[in-house]
């Protein structure tokens, strides 16, 4: 019994949980920055740069703004970190052992992957900074905007596999080979761009006019945790898409399968980076219109096609 708990704890904390996801997330954030640098025809940061950035924030002073909700302000980053760790553990576990997952883990994942945004909103509002609350309110509107098309897009592989279990979705033919899957994949790429609050949907941070927005009052360790959460999301969300639409990371198919899985994953990451580097930021009303308008229609069409067997 004790060994069961230890095994479970090791999975959450080391592999495929916190330690693995954090390292992979920091590597992914380096890839993102390096590709950005190459797009702008410069050399870019060294490989260890994300680690330096993280360690540096750990040694910096942590300032709690006067009059803010101290406990909420300091615990808000933990909410997102815990949620993304659990989400990554569930996604990788269903790829390592497809038959051990539980029914409905896709629904759990959808909720867990929303939690970092909730953490950001709570942190923003507890900091008692007008710019942060503006960023927090934008984040809330953005969540309401992208969740609808994202859930519809996730429905497509669920309908095709006739199961709410990620292991069953991995067992059937990849959805990206069907017309409905292609549309749903495109829709969800835009949705995860907004989930990561990257340009063109970086409204909550808005470096130019909100100067950091939701994170403006954060410094030291809490800021490090927020940045780590974001890096882990940058790793977890593309892996989730590969699992839903691309047949998984190929852990059951040997080294060739794993290489193909990593190639699919890197493909999605680089598409996200290229969108970030070529699109200007949209206003919040434009973002919500975009998600509730064209993307929701496209996702609904994809759901209809999937129901028709396409």
């Amino acid at each position: 019994m004790t060994t069961d708990y230890l095994h479970w704890l090791a999975q959450v904390l080391v592999f495929p949980g916190l330690l693995f996801t954090a390292s992979a997330g920091l590597v992914t954030s380096w890839i993102d920055r390096k590709v950005t640098a190459r797009v702008q025809m410069r050399v870019g940061p060294p490989f260890l740069q994300p680690w330096y950035d993280f360690l540096k924030l750990l040694i910096k002073e942590t300032i709690v703004p006067a009059g803010g909700a101290k406990w909420l302000f300091l615990s808000a980053p933990l909410l997102g970190l815990g949620a993304v760790t659990l989400a990554s553990t569930i996604i990788w576990r269903s790829q390592l052992a497809p038959h051990q997952g539980f029914v409905g883990d896709v629904i759990v994942l959808l909720y867990l992957l929303t939690m970092p945004a909730v953490g950001t909103v709570l942190g923003a509002f507890s900091s008692r900074n007008p710019l942060a609350s503006l960023g927090g309110s934008r984040e809330m509107k953005l969540v309401m905007g992208y969740e609808l098309p994202f859930v519809l897009a996730v429905l497509v592989p669920v309908i095709r596999a006739k199961s709410l279990r990620l292991g069953d979705i991995l067992a059937v033919e990849p959805s990206a080979l069907a017309a409905s899957g292609v549309i749903a994949l495109l829709v969800s790429v835009f949705c995860i761009q907004a989930k990561l609050t990257q340009v063109p949907f970086d409204l909550p941070e808005a470096e130019t006019e909100l100067t950091g927005g939701a994170y403006i009052e954060y410094s030291g360790v809490p800021l490090a945790l927020f940045k780590l959460t974001k890096a882990m999301m940058l790793f977890t969300l593309p892996v989730f898409l590969v699992a839903l639409f691309g047949g998984g990371m190929g852990l059951q198919q040997g080294w060739a399968g794993l290489a193909a899985g990593i190639a699919k994953y890197l493909g999605i990451v680089i598409v996200l980076t290229l969108i970030r580097n070529t699109a200007p930021r949209v206003r919040i009303d434009q973002a919500v219109k975009f998600f509730w308008g064209p993307l929701t229609v496209a996702a609904a069409v994809a759901v209809g096609l999937a129901l028709g067997g396409w």
């Binding site: 640098a37 025809m41 260890l48 540096k56 910096k60 002073e61």
Partner: protein, 140 residues
């Protein structure tokens, strides 16, 4: 503190404060951050919030009023933090030193770690200054 500064020098987040500057130094600072000089190679990026800053760049002539603001901004920054005065005005007051609203250089209000003179200093001069500062911090 030694190890802390070692890591700090690998990842500098720069916050830029202009205190009634004529904008020439500010433009040169932005020039230094363009892809041509690619300061992200050394982990140096510009941030918008003082809470995220490791380096405060001061440009312009800090008069009686704006020097107090500079002090406030310095107190808001999470420590350890490095302060760099960019341009002749921030270093010494230059031709504004006899002005009615100027009393003393901004270095008398807050501790400054490096002075980069020039009107305005070229991006190369700023990079040279930052490199000298980093070498000093790393050997300390």
């Amino acid at each position: 503190m030694g190890l802390a500064l070692q890591i700090l020098t690998r990842s500098l987040n720069v916050f830029h404060m202009a205190g009634s500057a004529c904008n020439n130094c500010d433009i040169e600072i932005l020039d230094a951050l363009t892809p041509k000089y690619d300061l992200e190679r050394f982990g140096l990026v510009l941030v918008g919030s003082i809470r995220h800053a490791d380096v405060i760049l001061l440009s312009g002539v800090f008069n009686k009023k704006s020097a107090l603001r500079a002090k406030l901004v310095y107190e808001q920054a999470p420590k350890p933090v490095v302060v760099v005065a960019i341009g002749g005005c921030a270093c010494s007051g230059l031709m504004f030193k006899d002005s009615y609203n100027w009393d003393q250089p901004v270095g008398r209000y807050i501790p400054i770690d490096a002075y980069i003179p020039g009107c305005p200093p070229k991006p190369e001069a700023m990079i040279a200054g930052i490199v000298k500062l980093l070498t000093k911090l790393r050997s300390a």
